[in-house]
């Protein structure tokens, strides 16, 4: 009990100087952090590629332009598929659908998470109990099988993919955001806002929400990573929207056409590496957010560590 109190006073004391300009110091921290800079650079490249895809590779990327299964060459930088499509065009165009679905799923599930988390924390009591119950049930239901079942019953299409991913993805963010919102809910300034008669919506979105910006950002990044990966997984299983060109669909066709069994690794590698790069870049930004907001994770040598390494 005493340690809990000590911890609490410790954190509030540490936060006081930063509290004056919370946003500027956070943005400054993010912009000077090497990890986040590297992550943002990679993301910018991919977003630029996605936007410029129709200019770089005009026309339908899945049309057949060359001989089948050509190795990478000057003409086709990443070779061609077993059907004779240009792999580079497919990969660059694939970024459009993958990033779009990833970002949409990320924003939508974070939004649902914010609504549920804030409502839980602000209203408390019965509403909190009920919302927490629903959140925990969704967290516990096995995600991938649920994804597969939902995708099997719903009519195939891009809307279904997004809906299914949001349904399975929101609960994690709701739980994280709820616990953060709960701790802010108990602060004095929220009590003051309640006493001064502010409306519930205003307190939730203008008083509580701005104070958990960094957690919301971390959650958003995690949700986008989930969205990009889970879309690829669904499409790889053949349950996505077969009509679009995306990284997941590229891999589905690579698997279906036996690209690996015939040794055409160039069909298989690019889309997977792109998904990994996007996920890694977002994870880097996420770690940077963690490091900037959680001083314990920063790479500072505590006296204890120096002592220990000195005694070695």
């Amino acid at each position: 009990m005493t340690t809990a109190i000590l911890k609490q006073t410790g954190t509030t004391a540490a936060k006081t100087p930063a509290a004056r300009k919370p946003n500027r110091s956070f943005v400054h921290g993010i912009l000077t952090n090497k990890k986040s800079l590297a992550g943002m650079a990679v993301m910018l490249v991919f977003i630029a590629l996605a936007l410029l895809a129709p200019v770089l590779f005009p026309g339908d990327p899945s049309r057949i332009t060359a001989m089948a299964s050509l190795e990478p060459s000057a003409e086709h930088w990443l070779g061609t598929t077993a059907k004779g499509q240009d792999v580079l065009a497919l990969t660059v165009h694939g970024s459009r659908s993958s990033l779009f679905v990833g970002l949409t799923v990320g924003f939508a599930s974070t939004f649902v998470g914010i609504l549920v988390g804030l409502a839980s924390a602000y209203f408390g009591k019965f509403i909190d109990e009920a919302l927490s119950l629903v959140t925990n049930v969704f967290l516990l239901l096995p995600g991938l099988p649920l994804l597969v079942i939902l995708a099997a019953f719903l009519p195939p299409g891009l809307g279904t993919v997004i809906l299914v991913l949001v349904v399975t993805g929101w609960a994690g963010s709701a739980r994280v955001l709820r616990s953060q919102a709960l701790s802010i809910r108990s602060k004095d300034f929220v009590a003051a806002a309640v006493v001064s008669g502010e409306r519930a919506g205003r307190i939730m979105f203008r008083e509580i929400l701005p104070n958990m910006a960094s957690i919301v950002m971390g959650t958003l990044l995690a949700c986008v990573i989930y969205g990009v990966g889970a879309q690829a997984g669904l499409e790889f299983l053949g349950l996505g929207d077969a009509g679009t060109v995306s990284w997941g669909n590229n891999l589905f066709w690579a698997g279906n056409e036996g690209a690996l069994l015939t040794g055409s690794w160039w069909v298989f590698v690019p889309s997977g590496v792109c998904i990994a790069l996007v996920a890694f870049a977002l994870a880097l930004i996420n770690y940077a957010v963690d490091e900037v907001t959680n001083p314990r994770l920063r790479k500072i040598k505590t006296p204890k560590d120096t002592e220990r390494s000195a005694s070695k």
């Binding site: 119950l133 516990l140 099988p145 597969v148 997984g233 891999l251 590496v273 990994a276 314990r296």
Partner: protein, 325 residues
């Protein structure tokens, strides 16, 4: 005891929710699953089986609540209907023949990943800034960024096709007689290596980072300083004092990991054609085998909930604070 009862109540609610979801999905989805399914298997099915299937999937004229009661009764008496793609085997029989493989694959991978990951996490936190701490986390996060199925296919290509070290599909060599003979066990083990290794590879990073971060917090506790002051051996402080207390969050993750075992092995099983419940679930989806799909989903959910409940009981055993509340 109250804690356990509350958790039990929660799991029952969760299970009820998944049954209800299963009940509602085919009834409120656009399109008619039954007619799609009949088109495939009309000639092989008996009229009374068609009738039973209509009831299971809600294509009958009874009021909704009556259908619901009937559905619940069927579930709890273990009547999940007959599989369409493996006609006329009952769904329960198909599932029970396959859940063992999933448990074997997922269990092996989970135990290896949890043990090795936690040990690495302990080491990383103990020597902060050392080789383990600075090199491994970024590497593991990078590996974890790849889509799981992509890594699995890569491993299958490299070790199965190019190097030909391990078998690439199924759980044992076709034609081998299953039994407790060394030959068969060795064969199953060889088939297990690639699928299990790929799961370990992608999941180990999470274990390690989680353990590392809890350990860093634990290392700054007073009793660690006290133990150092007493002059205890560092290895003893690390394992018996710090790691033991930092283990608790990992126990919870282990429960969630058990859920991943049954549900998440789906992609692994698909890539390696491993005959577990996940592989069967995808086959059921592709074959429009709705009864099997529903049975598999319920089985997987039940397994996940049961695993989490067992971990809760273990948790009460490990953490006295839960008992006193």
């Amino acid at each position: 005891m109250r804690f356990i009862l509350r958790r039990l109540g929660f799991y029952l609610i969760a299970f009820w929710a998944s049954i209800t979801l299963n009940f509602l999905l085919p009834r409120f989805m656009p399109g008619d699953p039954v007619s799609r399914m009949f088109a495939r298997s009309q000639d092989r099915m008996q009229p009374e089986q068609i009738e039973a299937l209509r009831k299971l999937l809600g294509v009958d004229d009874r009021p909704l609540w009556e259908q619901y009661m009937g559905y619940m009764t069927n579930i709890f008496t273990g009547q999940m209907g007959v599989s369409i793609s493996r006609f006329p085997t009952p769904v329960t029989e198909v599932i029970s023949s396959q859940i063992g493989w999933t448990l074997l694959l997922g269990g092996t991978a989970l135990v290896i990943a949890a043990v090795v990951g936690n040990l690495l996490g302990v080491l990383a936190a103990w020597r902060r800034g050392g080789a383990v701490d600075s090199a491994l986390p970024p590497l593991l996060v990078f590996i974890g960024s790849f889509p799981y199925f992509w890594l699995a296919m890569g491993a299958l290509y490299l070790f199965g096709v190019v190097l030909n070290w391990f078998p690439i599909r199924h759980a044992f060599t076709a034609g081998l007689e299953p039994g407790f003979t060394w030959g068969f066990i060795g064969d199953v083990g060889a088939h297990l290596v690639l699928p299990a290794l790929t799961i370990v590879l992608v999941s180990i990073g999470g274990w390690m980072l989680g353990m590392r971060n809890t350990m860093i917090a634990t290392n700054s506790e007073d009793y660690i300083t006290m133990a150092e002051a007493k002059g205890l051996r560092p290895s003893r402080i690390m394992l018996r004092y710090a790691a033991r207390n930092a283990m608790l969050p990992s126990v919870t993750s282990f429960g969630m990991g058990l859920g991943f075992v049954v549900g998440g092995a789906l992609l692994t099983e698909v890539v390696f054609a491993y005959p577990g419940v996940g592989y069967q679930l995808l086959n059921a989806v592709q074959g429009l085998d709705y009864p099997l799909m529903q049975g598999l989903f319920l089985t997987i959910t039940a397994a996940v909930l049961l695993a989490n409940f067992l971990v809760d009981i273990l948790y009460v055993r490990l953490d006295p604070r839960v008992r006193s509340n």
